[in-house]
């Protein structure tokens, strides 16, 4: 593994200049952490065409030198598993034992969380994931621009946290954005193996946070835990444990990382609702389904079956809609095709 990616460029410059790198303050928003300190604050997104917002941020500036790892959660403010996991993780990290810096944004879509609106920011009805954002756009675009400028550009590694939303049933899994470029694919693959979730779905590009990070030459991964409005201890702990293991893998914390053998998936297909009505799932996340098999059905409001939802391909059910609400065009699930593990 290339050393240059282990040591962030900013710190390398400071080392060359002969300055004690670990003594530098790290500032994100209103949080200024001296070396060996953990500080809470907010990234302020001023009012523009619509209301302003404050995104909570935790900066843990390790006593020793090392890379900058940013952890970003809550772009969907009702994917509770990771929103609960990141503050818990923050409490477990001792700055004295840390090499490098951890920047934690536990909740970037505050309005979605407070108003319990799934999938989008109720202030402007947009998703909070279209990087690099716009400084003069609506709230979601301004929030994204602030994260891009103040966090992503300063990071060496980024983990984006999601989960099953209020209406989605999942078991924890990770996304691997495959660029077909080295060494970055190897680095992100090894981060995912260190994280240790037992299903990994390969994807290519898109406007997501991890692919934005990767386009800047920085390793980025996406992990998902929690589902359907819950923040179950098992899901929360999978995210806390996985993140800690990535930090060990990056030599930011002492300790070794267990080797895992996840299920690798690729080319996921989206199941869509073709009718308005009541959705009944008949398969659970992680079920192996064969092409043409029924994974759910829809009745009208009179109780009569009007549609069967079948698997378009053979593969593994990554997630399935967990609520009765369905309208035409709604996503009802993903089916991922089994793939060979990438050669190590």
């Amino acid at each position: 593994m290339s050393l240059s990616l282990q040591v962030p460029s900013g710190l390398s410059v400071l080392l060359i200049l002969g300055v004690a790198a670990h003594a530098a303050d790290v500032t994100v928003g209103t949080a200024v952490a001296h070396s060996g300190q953990k500080v809470n604050g907010f990234i302020k997104v001023p009012a523009g065409v619509d209301a302003g917002t404050d995104m909570p941020v935790i900066v843990i500036n390790g006593a020793k030198t090392g890379p900058v790892l940013s952890l970003i959660s809550g772009s969907h403010g009702t994917e509770y598993g990771s929103i609960v996991a990141l503050p818990k993780l923050a409490q477990t990290i001792d700055p004295a034992a840390l090499s490098g810096t951890v920047v934690i944004l536990p909740l970037v879509n505050v309005a979605s969380f407070l108003q319990k609106v799934p999938h989008r920011n109720p202030i402007d009805n947009r998703g909070l994931n279209n990087y690099p954002g716009k400084a003069d756009g609506s709230q979601s675009e301004r929030a994204v621009a602030a994260i891009y400028e103040q966090v992503i550009q300063k990071s060496d590694y980024v983990i984006d946290y999601h989960g099953g939303d209020l209406d989605e049933n999942i078991l924890p899994f990770a996304y691997w954005t495959k660029t077909n470029k080295e060494p970055i694919d190897t680095i992100t693959r090894d981060m995912l193996l260190a994280f240790g979730l037992d299903m990994i779905v390969a994807k290519s590009g898109g406007g997501s946070l991890d692919s934005t990070v990767i386009s800047l030459g920085k390793p980025g991964i996406t992990v998902l835990g929690g589902r359907s409005g819950t923040a179950g201890t098992e899901d929360v702990q999978a995210l806390v444990r996985g993140t800690t293991n990535v930090m060990r893998h990056l030599k930011m914390l002492p300790g070794t990382v267990p080797v895992e053998h996840p299920l690798w998936l690729a080319h996921y297909s989206v199941l869509k609702g073709d009718q308005e009505g009541i959705f009944y799932p008949v398969a659970v996340p992680r079920a192996y389904v064969t092409k043409g098999m029924t994974v759910g059905y829809i009745t009208n409001f009179f109780g009569e079956k009007v549609s069967e939802i079948t698997a378009p391909v053979s593969g593994v059910l990554i997630y399935i809609n967990s609520v009765p609400s369905v309208k035409k065009g709604d996503n009802l699930g993903y089916v991922g095709e089994l793939a060979e593990p990438p050669i190590k």
Binding site: G77, V84, K116, L166, S228, A231, G303, P324, S325
Partner: protein, 353 residues
């Protein structure tokens, strides 16, 4: 095959029997017109006004035999899923040939809330669907209430309003019974909650403009029932709603057979107190529905977004938890828990028996 042919014979017989009876009248709700001994489905059309129109699904089951009209209504909160699903399933289970009287089923009043997965309110006008008798020239929620009042509440003899824990609420099933002070009315509605069979009954005052109290105000014995929680549609919750409804229909002599619920000594709740949050943050409950708590005891706590505990939420009174916030979202003024104070069976203190 045997079953099917029996059913055909029954239908034919009842049609013949009813040819000259009062029960032979058609029943129309919205676009659904059911002849005697048949089931019809359709919609109550709420035309566009100051905002968009909506269509409320309606099922009319016009029994082969004469009897009362029972209206069962769900989905004023469109994401209280268990009751919406239960009523749609109930519609397929009640056979017109075996029914005396008429069952009117409205499984989903707040269609926009359901389709858009918006909790508690109608996203079209940001109001709750309620406040009967509604307003013909009001916003969509008010026009829905107006249509339901005139096309269903006025036509029925009894009404059951179905609710449950919303996407952000955890509860165990319970009923509401209104103490109107009118002995005959109170006895029938009390018998209805006993027949329904949910083991906790919350006593309400005859105030407000909800479905049950509006119908009671018109002299129609009516109740409210709650089951389901937090976006789920568990078989047990759907089951108690369907079984309970069938038992109320047996009590009202709309269906044959004995009442299968054996509720003898429910838990009576005399007063509900709501503990509200004074903070924004992440909520962690420490109690579950039906837990008995003492005044001053912690029922949950709130952390800030950095993981630091910033508030303990304590029980304002001693009693039973009837509802707990089920999600981490907590903002100032949100409901954290409902606590019910344990009361006496009203039949021991009033004329309601």
């Amino acid at each position: 095959m045997t079953l099917l042919s029996k059913r055909i014979v029954k239908v034919t017989m009842s049609c013949g029997l009813l040819a000259g009876l009062a029960g032979a009248a058609d029943i129309t709700v919205g676009t659904a017109t059911a002849k005697t001994g048949t089931k019809a489905t359709g919609y109550i059309e709420v035309p566009a006004g100051v905002d968009a129109a909506t269509s409320l699904p309606a099922i009319v089951i016009n029994g082969a035999n004469a009897g009362p009209t029972l209206a069962v209504i769900a989905g004023a909160h469109g994401t209280e899923y268990a009751s919406i699903v239960a009523l749609a399933q109930l519609a397929t289970q009640v056979r017109p040939s075996e029914l005396s009287g008429t069952l009117i089923i409205l499984p989903l009043l707040n269609v926009a809330s359901y389709l858009q997965k918006v909790v508690h309110v109608n996203p079209v006008d940001h109001k709750g669907v309620g406040g009967y008798p509604g307003k013909v020239d009001g916003t969509q929620s008010e026009r829905i209430a107006y249509a339901v009042y005139h096309q269903v509440i006025e036509k029925c003899d009894h009404l059951i309003d179905y609710h449950g824990g919303d996407i952000d609420e955890d509860l165990h099933p319970y009923s509401y019974w209104t103490n109107t002070g009118k002995p005959e009315l109170d006895k029938i509605s009390r018998d209805m909650v006993f027949a329904f069979g949910l083991k906790m009954i919350i006593i309400k005052e005859a105030r407000g403009r909800g479905l049950d109290n509006t119908a009671l105000g018109l002299g129609k014995a009516s109740i409210t029932v709650e089951a389901g929680h937090a976006g789920t549609t568990e078989a047990a919750d759907i089951g108690v709603l369907i079984d309970g409804t069938m038992n109320v229909m047996r009590y009202l002599k709309m269906l044959h057979g004995p009442i299968t619920s054996s509720l003898q000594h429910p838990l009576w709740i005399s007063k509900l107190t709501i503990a509200k949050s004074e903070q924004d943050g992440i909520f962690f409950p420490s109690v579950v529905p039906e837990a008995y708590v003492h005044q001053g005891m912690s029922v949950g706590y709130i952390t800030d977004y950095f993981g630091n505990k910033i508030a303990d939420v304590t029980a304002p009174v001693t009693g039973v938890i009837t509802l707990v916030c089920s999600v981490p979202t907590m903002k100032k003024g949100d409901n954290v828990v409902y606590i019910g104070e344990i009361g006496n069976d009203p039949s021991t203190s009033s004329a309601a028996r």
